[in-house]
C-alpha cells in the first residue's frame, strides 16, 4: 500500500484545480484551503491512497458540504464540524473509518475530505463520485451503481445533528437531506452513505484529487512565469479549447431551489463574429456556439479567466469578463445509458441526445 503525502504546496494547487473542476458550481475552495493551511501549520499531515490499495472490507467515509455557497461565505467552513459529521456516522454505525473520500472533487468539497482525514488520522482516497461538481446527491457514480443511499449524517455547528437512517432511493436522500440543510440555515456538513473498499474500487471515479492538483499546479506555474495558464491546463489534461470571448450577458433565475440561467459570450481572436451561450444549473450544463450545441453534460465545461486561468463560477460571473471556455473529458461511468439517465442533458430537462465533444 503506497501513501503519498499531500504537501502544503499540493493543497494550494488542489484549491485552484478543484475550482476548475467545479465547472461553474461547488463554491470557491478558498475557505477550505484556509482551514487546511491551519491544520498543516499545526503539524497535521494528510496522505493520499489509491483506491486499488484499499482492502475490500475497508470502511470509507464520503464527505460533502451541502447548501448554498453564498451562506458558506458568511458561516465559513470549520474543519471540526466536518470531522464531527464523520464521527457521528462512526457512533451511529459502530464502525471506525479506515479512509475518507470526497463525494465531489469540484469546488469547496474537493478539499473537505482532507480536513476530516487530518482529524481521523486516516488517508484520503484519490477518488470521488462525481469527477466534477453536480447539484444533486443522485448525480454520482455510486447512485448510478445503485449502491445503498443511506445512512446519511447532517451536522450543524450549534449541536444540531441528524441521521437519516433509511431512504429507499438517492432521490429521496436528496429531498430529505435538502430539507434538513435548509432548516439548519442552508449550510451543513454531511457524511454521505459509507462505502466499502470494494465499492470504492468498483464505482469510484479514480485519480481525481491527483488530477485537480496537477491542473492547479499547471495554472499556478503558468501564473508565476507569465505563461498562458489555459494552454498549461490543456498540456496536462486531454481537454479541448471551445471558445475565447467576453461575457456579454448573464440571465439568472431560481427554479426549484437552483440557480439556473444562460450566459452569453461574444468571441475574441479566432472566435470573432461568433457567439457562445452556456446554460447553467449551478454548474455549466450545455454550451452552444451560434445556436448549435457544442458541448454538454457530462462533458466538463470549464469557464476560465483568460488572464489568470482560474475558474469563474456561475454565481459570480459578470459582464465584461474575458474568459476562455474549455471542455474536459467526462468520467466513463456517466457515459453508459444508466449514467446518462442520472447526469445527461435530459436529467437537467434538455431534450437532447448526448453527444460528446470528444467523440467528434
Amino acid at each position: 500500500m503506497s501513501l503519498r503525502e499531500i504537501t502544503a504546496d499540493d493543497v494550494e494547487s488542489l484549491a485552484v484545480g478543484a475550482w476548475v473542476l467545479g465547472t461553474g458550481g461547488g463554491g470557491n475552495p478558498y475557505l477550505s484551503l484556509l482551514n487546511m493551511r491551519l491544520l498543516h501549520r499545526e503539524g497535521k499531515r494528510v496522505h493520499l491512497i489509491d483506491a486499488e490499495d484499499l482492502a475490500d472490507d475497508a470502511y470509507v467515509a464520503v464527505i460533502a458540504g451541502m447548501g448554498a455557497p453564498l451562506v458558506g461565505i458568511e458561516r465559513l467552513t470549520d474543519h471540526r464540524v466536518f470531522a464531527r459529521a464523520a464521527r457521528l456516522m462512526e457512533e451511529h454505525t459502530g464502525r471506525k473509518f479506515d479512509a475518507v473520500m470526497g463525494m465531489e472533487i469540484g469546488g469547496g468539497n474537493g478539499l473537505r475530505p482532507l480536513l476530516v482525514a487530518a482529524h481521523l488520522g486516516v488517508p484520503v482516497v484519490d477518488s470521488d463520485t462525481m469527477g466534477r461538481a453536480y447539484p444533486e446527491a443522485q448525480m454520482t457514480s455510486v447512485a448510478v451503481g445503485d449502491l445503498k443511499p443511506c445512512p446519511l449524517t447532517v451536522v450543524d455547528v450549534r449541536g444540531l445533528e441528524s441521521v437519516i437512517e433509511t431512504v429507499p432511493t438517492w432521490k429521496w436522500a436528496e429531498r430529505v437531506g435538502r430539507k434538513i440543510v435548509v432548516e439548519y440555515g442552508s449550510t451543513a456538513s454531511t457524511c454521505q452513505p459509507p462505502r466499502s473498499g470494494a465499492e470504492v474500487k468498483r464505482w469510484g471515479i479514480h485519480g481525481t484529487t491527483s488530477k485537480a492538483i496537477a491542473i492547479g499546479r499547471a495554472v499556478r506555474e503558468a501564473q508565476r512565469t507569465h505563461a498562458d495558464p489555459v494552454a498549461a491546463i490543456l498540456a496536462v489534461e486531454p481537454g479541448k479549447l471551445l471558445f475565447r470571448g467576453k461575457v456579454m450577458d448573464v440571465a439568472r433565475r431560481v427554479t426549484e431551489g437552483y440557480l439556473r440561467g444562460v450566459t452569453r459570450f461574444d468571441g475574441l481572436d479566432e472566435f470573432r463574429d461568433s457567439t457562445l451561450t452556456i446554460d447553467f444549473q449551478n454548474e455549466w450544463i450545455i454550451a452552444s456556439r451560434d445556436g448549435a450545441p457544442l458541448a454538454m453534460t457530462p462533458d466538463l465545461i470549464c469557464v476560465l479567466d483568460s488572464v489568470s486561468g482560474e475558474a469563474v463560477g456561475s454565481e459570480t460571473i459578470r459582464y465584461g469578463q474575458r474568459v476562455t471556455v474549455i471542455a474536459l473529458p467526462p468520467p466513463e461511468v456517466f457515459l453508459t445509458p444508466k449514467g446518462l439517465e442520472h447526469v445527461g442533458p435530459r436529467a437537467f430537462g434538455y431534450d437532447l441526445e448526448f453527444r460528446s465533444v470528444f467523440s467528434a
Partner: protein
C-alpha cells in the same frame, strides 16, 4: 457650480478650480511631509490670480493615496481589537487569519469571538452574548486598545447585533473609534471583516489627515465643505470619510481616469496615466473606470472593495534610464527628480532628462543633457512606447483599435501613434487630470441585500429606494440621482424566492 479639486499624491499636490464645467486654473505644488503646507501652497497658487476672490466655493474635493500607502508601507497604523459575533460558527478561521504575518503583527491588538449573528433569512443565528461583549470591552480597556472592529455573520442583512455590540463597547470605551463591518457592505464575512479591521487600523491617521485638510482649507480663507474622493469616483463628506477611510483607498487612480474622461469628453476609452514612478492603464466604461472582477488584495489583505481594474507598470517621468543594454524603469527617482535628474544637476539619467534633451520638455538646464544624441532619445522613447503598448493590449477587452487618453505628468512618454490604438488623445490640463477627477466627483449610495418573497421588480425597486436614501444621506441632490449598477442574483438552494440585489446610484453633490 464652483469647485476646487485637489489630489494629494506622493510627489505633487495638484489643484484645479472648475467653474460651470470649465477648468479655470490648475496648479502643482510639491507634497509636504505635514500635508497641510502642500495643500496651502497649491490653494495659494490657485488664488494667486484672484480667481478665488469673493467667490463662493461649493466644495473642496480632496483625493489622496495617504490611507492605502499607510497599509502598503505598514506605517501610521493603529492596533485594533477585533470582535466577531458568530460563535460557535467560524471558530477555526478567526479575525486576521488570512493576513500577511507582518501586517497582522502590527494591527492585531486582540481577538474576541462571541455568540451572535444572523441567518440568511433574518433569523438570529445565535442570540447576542452581551455579557461576553462587555467582558471583551473591559479586556480591551485593560490592554489600552482604542480602536475596535466588529463583524457579525450576515450583518449586511441585519446589522442589529453589530450595532448593539458597538453600543456596549462604547459604554466601556467612550473614546474608542469603532468600525462595524456592515458599514462596509457586502456578503463575504472574511473579506468584509478584513475591510473593517483595516478601516479601524486607519482610525488615527484618518482623524489627523482630515483634520490637516480642514485646517489647510480654513487657513487659506476658503469657506466650503470638504469632501474626500472615493475608490469609485464619488465623494463622501469629511465626517463620513473620517469614519470610513478605506473607501478612499484607490481614489488617486480613479480620479485620474474620471478626469481623463471629463477633459476629453469621451466616456468609453482606454486611459494611460503616466506618473513619476508608475504608469496605470485602465479602461473607461460610461465615464467610470472598469471595476476589478475579483477579490482585491490591499497590502496583501483580501477585501471586497469597489476598485478600478488597473494594470501598473514601472514606467514614469522619473524612471531610471540605462543605455547599454537599453532599459527603462522600474526604478525611479520619484519626488527626488528635481535633485537627482541630470537636467537638474543630479547624476541619474531619467526619462525626463531624455525628454529635455529631445526638446519635448522645457525643464531644468538643457545644457546638462546636450551630450545625449537624437538616436538615443529615439530609442528610449521607442522602449517606453513598447512598454505602454504591451500594457494597453493586456487591459483591452476588445480586439479592435480603441481611443487612448494619455494623462499625468509623464504623459510626454506616450507617442501619437501606438499599436492597437485608434487615436492618442493628449488633453489640456492632462497633467492635473487627477485633481480634475476629484473636482467633478459625485456622491453615491449602494444597497446590497437579500430579499425574500418579493417579485423581482419589487425587490429591485426596494433596493433602489434604499440606495437613493443612502446617497442623499451622503450629500447627494436627490433630483440628480442616476442608477449606474443594478444587479439581481437569485440564490441557489435558498427557499422562498430569495434574491440578492445590488443597486448603486450616483448624483451630484447637493448645493449647500
Amino acid at each position: 457650480m464652483r469647485r476646487i479639486g485637489i489630489d494629494v499624491g506622493g510627489t505633487n499636490t495638484d489643484a484645479v478650480l472648475i467653474e460651470e464645467g470649465k477648468v479655470i486654473r490648475a496648479v502643482k505644488a510639491p507634497t509636504s511631509e505635514d500635508v497641510t503646507t502642500g495643500i496651502l501652497e497649491s490653494l495659494k497658487g490657485l488664488g494667486s490670480t484672484g480667481a478665488l476672490k469673493d467667490r463662493k466655493i461649493d466644495g473642496v474635493m480632496i483625493g489622496t493615496t495617504h490611507f492605502i500607502n499607510a497599509v502598503v508601507q505598514r506605517r501610521h497604523l493603529t492596533k485594533v481589537g477585533a470582535i466577531r459575533l458568530g460563535m460557535p460558527a467560524t471558530a477555526s478561521l478567526p479575525p486576521f487569519c488570512d493576513w500577511p504575518d507582518d501586517l497582522a503583527a502590527l494591527v492585531r491588538g486582540g481577538v474576541w469571538m462571541v455568540e451572535g449573528g444572523h441567518e440568511y433569512d433574518g433569523r438570529p443565528f445565535m442570540l447576542l452574548d452581551e455579557a461576553a461583549v462587555l467582558k471583551a470591552a473591559e479586556e480591551m480597556k485593560a490592554a489600552g486598545l482604542k480602536s475596535v472592529g466588529i463583524s457579525a455573520i450576515f450583518s449586511p442583512l441585519d446589522p442589529s447585533h453589530e450595532k448593539r455590540a458597538a453600543e456596549l463597547v462604547a459604554k466601556v470605551l467612550p473614546d474608542a473609534s469603532i468600525t462595524c463591518s456592515s458599514d462596509l457592505g457586502r456578503i463575504g464575512l472574511l473579506e468584509r471583516e478584513n475591510a473593517g479591521l483595516l478601516n479601524a487600523a486607519l482610525a488615527d491617521l484618518a482623524r489627523d489627515t482630515i483634520a490637516a485638510f480642514e485646517k489647510a482649507i480654513r487657513d487659506s480663507g476658503i469657506e466650503a465643505p470638504l469632501f474626500i474622493t472615493q475608490n469609485d469616483g464619488t465623494v463622501a463628506e469629511a465626517s463620513q470619510a473620517r469614519r470610513l477611510p478605506v473607501y478612499s483607498f484607490a481614489s488617486g487612480a480613479t480620479n485620474s481616469m474620471r478626469g481623463a474622461a471629463y477633459l476629453s469628453g469621451l466616456s468609453d476609452a482606454m486611459v494611460v496615466d503616466v506618473g513619476g514612478t508608475t504608469t496605470d492603464v485602465g479602461q473607461l466604461k460610461h465615464g467610470f473606470p472598469r471595476e476589478a472582477n475579483s477579490v482585491v488584495k490591499v497590502g496583501g489583505v483580501r477585501t471586497l472593495f469597489r476598485m478600478p481594474d488597473l494594470l501598473s507598470i514601472g514606467l514614469g517621468g522619473g524612471s531610471h534610464v540605462q543605455l547599454d543594454p537599453l532599459k527603462v524603469g522600474p526604478l525611479s527617482v520619484g519626488y527626488r527628480l528635481l535633485k537627482e535628474g541630470i537636467a537638474f544637476g543630479g547624476k541619474q539619467l531619467t526619462t525626463t532628462d531624455i525628454a529635455v534633451a529631445a526638446g519635448v520638455l522645457d525643464l531644468g538646464d538643457k545644457a546638462r543633457v546636450a551630450h545625449i544624441d537624437a538616436a538615443t532619445c529615439k530609442a528610449v522613447f521607442a522602449e517606453a512606447a513598447r512598454m505602454a503598448e504591451e500594457a494597453i493590449d493586456r487591459m483591452k477587452t476588445e480586439a479592435g483599435d480603441v481611443p487612448l487618453i494619455a494623462v499625468g505628468g509623464g504623459a510626454f512618454l506616450i507617442p501619437e501613434k501606438l499599436a492597437g490604438v485608434s487615436q492618442v488623445i493628449h488633453v489640456e490640463h492632462g497633467d492635473c487630470a487627477n485633481a480634475v477627477g476629484a473636482a467633478i466627483a459625485q456622491v453615491s449610495g449602494e444597497c446590497d441585500q437579500i430579499f425574500k418573497d418579493l417579485t423581482r421588480v419589487e425587490a429591485l425597486s426596494t433596493a433602489q429606494g434604499i440606495a437613493n436614501d443612502r446617497a442623499v444621506a451622503a450629500g447627494a441632490d436627490r433630483a440628480t440621482l442616476k442608477t449606474i449598477e443594478s444587479e439581481d442574483m437569485p440564490l441557489a438552494y435558498l427557499p422562498g424566492n430569495s434574491v440578492r440585489v445590488r443597486v448603486r446610484v450616483v448624483g451630484d453633490v447637493a448645493a449647500s
